[in-house]
């Protein structure tokens, strides 16, 4: 049965969308760019980074566009002074959390966090840096995990689970101590479930996961496989 088409307003413009679309889907089709970090086409959405929060008329709360379904007559604002302020603060919180030193990062110039800061106009962090002491796991033959640059978007966890089907990655610990782990918190190189497919590395938005032996200039993440594999898996959209 074909999905019903509904009409809504995004930033004052009338837009039509399939009723099973999220606000983010609808916005994308209408060429409205809502900032996202944990979202990635082809993976399940978790609503964790909170950058895609939008205002919906009549609802006092802000709603994450990546998981909120559209509805008939909905009036969405994707950009306002308030939203920009929240988004900037969230990016500042991300930078302050770990040791993101762009100038010496393998992903300098290819980093989605760095690009997001530029896009939103974040030019300094009003919150103090934490400077935590975090390890680097270089035990894998081909890849490296640097916790200093991880923003816990869990794209690696989802790509590994949903697409590769290995579920090597997961999250352990609570709150500020949460971190991604391989298997039961063993060194990546010792992981028995890891297939070394490299999908986690390619979906990582920052330099937290990278390939050994590649220069900064070469550190471009390739995500083209995602929609293709998702289609094979779900046969939809």
């Amino acid at each position: 049965m074909p999905a019903k088409v509904i009409t809504l307003t995004i930033d004052g413009r009338d837009v039509s969308a399939r009723e099973d679309y999220t606000i983010l889907d609808a916005a994308k089709e209408a060429n409205v760019k809502i900032p996202t970090l944990c979202h990635l086409e082809g993976l399940c959405d978790v609503g964790a980074c909170r950058l895609c929060m939008v205002e919906v008329k009549g609802i006092p709360k802000l709603l994450p566009a990546c998981v909120t379904k559209v509805s008939e007559g909905m009036s969405v604002t994707t950009d306002s002074e308030r939203l920009l302020h929240y988004r900037m603060t969230i990016v500042e919180l991300m930078f302050s959390e770990r040791n993101h030193i762009c100038s010496v990062c393998v992903s300098n110039g290819h980093c989605e966090l760095q690009a997001m800061a530029m896009r939103l106009g974040v030019d300094h962090m009003r919150v103090p840096y934490r400077y935590p002491t975090l390890p680097v796991d270089a035990s894998h033959e081909r890849f490296v995990l640097d916790h200093n640059r991880c923003i816990l978007c869990t794209r690696c966890v989802r790509a590994c689970d949903e697409i590769e089907g290995a579920h090597t990655w997961d999250v352990m610990g609570r709150g500020i101590d949460a971190k991604v782990i391989t298997d039961m918190n063993e060194p990546w190189g010792k992981s028995e479930s890891c297939t070394s497919c490299g999908k986690c590395v390619n979906v990582c938005p920052t330099g937290a996961l990278f390939e050994k032996g590649r220069s900064v200039g070469e550190m471009v993440k390739r995500k083209a496989f995602l929609p293709y594999l998702t289609q094979m898996r779900e046969g939809k959209k």
Binding site: M53, I90, E97, R126
Partner: protein, 543 residues
Amino acid sequence: MPEETTNGTQAQTTLDICVAAGCLSCQGDLVKEALEKEIDARGLAERVAVRGVGCLGLCMAGPLLRVSPDGILYQAMVPEDAGEIVESIGKKPVKRLECDAEQSFFTRQVKIVLENSGEVDPDKLDDYTAVGGYDALAKAVGEMEPSEVISEMVTSGLRGRGGGGYPSGLKWGTVAKADGARKYVICNADEGDPGAFMDRSVLESDPFRVLEGMAIAGYAVGADSGYVYCRAEYPLAVKRLKNAIRQAERAGFLGSNICGSSFRFTVDIRLGAGAFVCGEETALISSIEGNRGSPRPRPPFPAASGLWDCPTLINNVETFANVAPIIRNGGEWFSGIGTEKSKGTKVFALAGRVQNTGLIEVPMGTVLRDIIFDIGGGIPDGRKFKAVQTGGPSGGCIPEQFLDMAVTYESLAQAGSIMGSGGMIVMDETSCMVDVARYFMEFCMTESCGKCVPCRVGTMQMHELLEKITQGRASMKDLDLLEELCEVVRFSSLCGLGQTSPNPVLSTLRYFRDEYLAHIRDHVCPAGVCKMKSPSKIHAEVA
């Protein structure tokens, strides 16, 4: 009710001793043993019986003992007092141990949820049925259609007692209407607010009541299995629940053909592993499913898609404990208690700087002053009342000017706090409000699941700023930043934990801003709680 003695005859006197966690922690079990020994030694076993009962409420005076039918109440006993107590049976009471049963603490309460607490032995189904237990379940499955049960719940006006205050009848109706081959009922017993012990006490004192409520709910919404998600830190509650489930199954109040009908309902227990966030319903569901206990965005709400993607009714312990009396006495009866929008009674855990710490139940709309000064007995040591913290880490501090406020969901929200699950921490002039805010923020920071950025990093940064203020190292710029972060975290966090984590800061800033300013501008803690660092050390973090 006369208790059977060990040899089967009816005892003339019963010694009801509290066996809930509060009294057990002050050697209630040893007192019970000593009493039993003493009775045996005196050959009184035929006339006097000792019985463990649920919470009698006045936890600060434990262990508590009530002599029936004389109605004498004893407090703060030690095992050595057993001889004197047994000796006095039928004679003059032991004056020095007597607890005034006529004081406001007892007389001003209205008990619905706790009506069996202290009256029945929580380990005995017979005790429960003897006071009308399971009549409501029998009535529901025997005489009522599921829709009638739900409409009775709607009429009652009961609202969720876990904190949200969502109308229970409405929630039940949504689950009942939801499409799904299977449906589930979950009882949220993951009570984790500091200073709160309402659900714990209900489970320890009257576990059958909660199971009965769940079974009625299962019948009403069309679910055949339920889970009690209880925190592992409540071993006694878990033990009593397990026992209650077993006994109820044997007696046909759980399992197949409940009360002789075709209705089937089973209950299982799932233990929480100590994560506060698992009290959030979506995290709780994730935890029951065997996954990491972190919340997911709503909608879809559990009522539409919950446990294993099935429609799920999730209510808290106290909510379920209200169900049986509502079905037994009718929704009209329940809605006659309380105020227009907040019906029934509410159990509060009185803690902090108040004379009578313990568990109380009062009608909604009871004035705060009556709760704290009449029932609670006021502030000890002649000190001055400063504020009362309600709703735990998601709540706020209510200052003196609101003491004459009637306690309802709305009035508490208006005063910048919430009803929450019922924790009430009373504070006097020796409490520093900035330090209180810092404490609750620390709680939220360590209990954040770490999934969304504002809560994970925001609570940490807010805690850091509060720490700075309490150490006298902060500037006015820091205070501005704190207020800003409060707003961002409140509006952008994923779940209730993050969204409400700024509440203690916001409410203390609203009513006690001068204390913040004193810390920042004058480097002084007015309550004398915070240790100020000398100004010379403010910047010189030198190696």
